[in-house]
Amino acid sequence: MTKLDAKVPKGALSDKWQQYKGTMKLVAPNNKRRIEVIVVGTGLAGGACAATLAELGYKVKVFTFHDSPRRAHSIAAQGGINAAKNYQNDGDSVYRLFYDTIKGGDYRSRESNVHRLAEVSTNIIDQCVAQGVPFAREYGGLLANRSFGGVQVSRTFYARGQTGQQLLLGAYQALSRQIANGNVTLYNRHEMLDLVKVDGKARGIIARNLLTGEIERHAAHCVVLGTGGYGNVFYLSTNAMNSNTSAAWRAHRKGAFMANPCYTQIHPTCIPVSGHYQSKLTLMSESLRNDGRVWVPKSKADSDAIRKGEKSPLDLSEDQRDYYLERIYPSFGNLVPRDVASRAAKYVCDEGRGVSKTGLAVYLDFSDAINRLGEDTISARYGNLFEIYEKITGENPYKRPMRIYPAVHYTMGGLWVDYNLQTTVPGCFALGEANFSDHGANRLGASALMQGLADGYFVIPYTIGQFLADEIRTPNISTDQGAFAEAETEVRGRIEKLLAIKGNQSVESFHRRLGQYMWDYCGMSRSAEGLEKGIKLIRELRDEFYKDVFVPGSNEEYNPELEKALRVADFLELGELMCKDALNRNESCGGHFREEYQTEEGEATRNDEDFAYVAAWESKGMGESELHKEDLVFENVELKTRSYK
């Protein structure tokens, strides 16, 4: 085990970034033109990064497995994006956003990174408005805000329920402009299958052309990964179907440490599972908790009656309902952070008070808000979400409370990065959900969009210079060398192996089983016993996968089943590491809840003495890993027990 150095610059917290920016190494314009950068991913993080680096003059090659950069999973974000603008004059500030994020993350994130995030948050809104992003506005023509869970100010900017779409289109358009100018080459329908290291530095990737199956070598002076999160290891999640871990995982297998992989965010407001055929879960934005009230029946008997269809929620009077969040957490009420709200939902359902056929659902009720504000106002705020809900469930949420249940939503863990967003492989950077940096053990709502764009527009364009300034004499990297040949052979080997198995079970069926194990043993609550069992089951499943999976077709064609097989193979390795990490962390913090570590009232017990560190895992081959630590030093906030009561 080694102690990791995050290369945090010296100085007072609030000055660090400004000072660092002012003194860091620069790459002159004539040199930038010669330097090539590979960016993998065109979501908010990758898209913003690729566009900005190209504006600065670098030669950028951008990769996405999607058919178009505009389809990245970021498009689906609904609720909004935070920024410390204090336009509402309600006491917000950079410090408060910083503090809320540190506290929301349950004191498991790095102070310096989070402060920088809060600082640049205001620039993001300016930039997006300049791009033409149609944020919601007030009658006076100024920008509107709403509030999100875990905070007491209104700092969330939004574009109806489609904030991610509008922000991503802004980044996509900026990227399109650079593609048109010839500063960016777009490789769409290309999947990165390996990272290539030359003399210890990241110098390229191996990618599969998804239309032809061709295995291609691409070189550059450095590689930036903005490849998103790994929530789909649970099979059912709110992530887009194709989101996967492979780019990050392959970088991990090449030496990039994976940090806090067990920190998973389970979002409290998703549409519940309806049947075994379920392919994904749909989020109902957290913003709904501004106006919706969460409840279940007080008595088990009423819940039973509702489950059997003998009673409707509308039959229950106020005093037969338990607004449990308002009851337990009077000061934050329905707006407690996600981890708290999710666990509370699990508890009431475990008590047998859940609603809907499966017993795994609680109500989110808008009747008060509709009575107070009118249906039109509610529809203006949440119209499209209500529509989505009705399309999926066939029920009208204006008339009948929504049914919701927690679902896997976001992964705080990811590739370990230092202050420069560089992984442990020199020249390999990670941005957005793919890195672990800013959210600690729990992410606050509307902060992922903020982080993705902060990383892409305002951080990496500076910090990448710290690496590239020493590379200005490095000629263009040739793909005609041993490291590329080896990586290519390795990738071909993996593909051939999968195609050769010709077993009897579909890739999908393995993915479903893995997801179930993860949910059962590494989900909303975890225990040492369960995690050990999970690890064993995952290992067995992996063996079975390599003996009995059936992948139709060949490599040399458009073959979505092969794409899936490669991704699931990597999930089968990641799942094990997540369990190991959860087993190592003998405490409860944020999204990581260990049953052994709780108070008598069932609240999480953190252990700052022994676990105020980032767990960064080094790969030692399939199923083998070594733990390294980055100690978290809090100089500006006092560690407290998180209380939302």
Binding site: A51, H66, D67, S68, R70, R71, H73, I75, A76, K85, N123, Q127, C128, V129, A130, Q131, G132, P134, R137, E138, Y139, G140, G141, L142, L143, A159, R160, Q162, Q165, Q166, L169, Y172, Q173, A174, S176, R177, I179, N188, A240, M241, S274, G275, Y277, Q278, S279, K280, T282, I388, K391, G394, Y457, F458, P461, S506, E508, G553, E557, Y558, P560, E561
Partner: protein, 250 residues
């Protein structure tokens, strides 16, 4: 439910033909794509090549899913993408025809998957505001009337799916192109380049082989996001302005 599917297969061993499939035990709560998942699982069990179709978010926002169901792009339900369509819109015993979006500018890749790169190139031709990162002024420096902003938003919700093209007898991309032109022209930030933008995007649209718009308005009827044809009128205004105005760039 029991259904008969007639699915267009192209590529691999198929030259381009409808193939019949039967599916059973379909629940009305399933989405249309989950029904196809069930069929594909069945095909894999039979060691057949599953049907290729594209999808990602399954929430109606990414614009990836694309198929013509019983002659209608994205199927029978108004303002709904294929992934949001649920089997409660169908009846037991139905025969369902499933085909790819068809247009010269959307060549078929395999089965129901088409290539829509032409849409990206239309955006690259000018569907942006020319502003670099870091050049922006304070976000509240230019107030924008709530209604104006809301109108811009309505146009900006286009998901780039291409159903408008598939619905149009001329395979025109006018609705898609006009949505972007109109979104940006409505905002003060995008107004500056509006005419030039309209002209270069229309030029690219023609170069890609999309047809001319003859005001059939089938696009609006099939658009899952309710993008209005009034955007086309707006585009025409900007376009005419650019051709006859003083800032002619042709």
């Amino acid at each position: 439910m029991r259904l008969t599917l007639k699915v267009w297969r192209e590529g691999g061993k198929y030259v381009g033909q409808f193939v019949d499939y039967k599916v059973d035990n379909i629940s009305t709560d399933m989405s249309f794509l989950e029904m196809l998942d069930v069929l594909n699982e069945q095909l894999i069990q039979e060691k057949e090549t599953p049907i290729a179709f594209e999808h990602d978010c399954r929430e109606g926002i990414c614009g990836t899913c694309s198929m013509v169901i019983n002659g209608q792009p994205h199927g029978p339900m108004k303002s709904t993408t294929t992934c949001q369509l649920h089997m409660r819109s169908f009846n037991d015993g139905d025969v369902i025809y499933i085909e790819p979006f068809r247009a010269k500018a959307f060549p078929v890749i395999r089965d129901l998957v088409v290539n829509r790169d032409s849409f990206d190139r239309i955006i690259q031709a000018g569907g942006y505001v020319s502003v670099n990162t870091g050049q922006a002024q304070d976000a509240n420096a230019i107030p924008i009337e709530k209604d104006t902003s809301s109108q811009a938003f309505d146009a900006a919700t286009c998901i780039g799916c291409g159903a408008c093209v598939a619905a149009c007898p001329n395979a025109s991309a006018m609705l898609f192109t006009s949505a972007k032109v109109s979104h940006l022209a409505t905002m003060p930030q995008g107004k500056v380049e509006a005419r030039k933008r309209a002209q270069s995007m229309v030029k690219q649209m023609d170069a890609e082989g999309f047809g001319k718009c003859s005001n059939v308005t089938a696009c609006e009827a099939e658009c899952p996001k309710g993008i209005s044809v009034t955007n086309i009128a707006k585009l025409n205004r900007e376009y005419m302005g650019s051709v006859f105005g003083s800032d002619k760039v042709m």
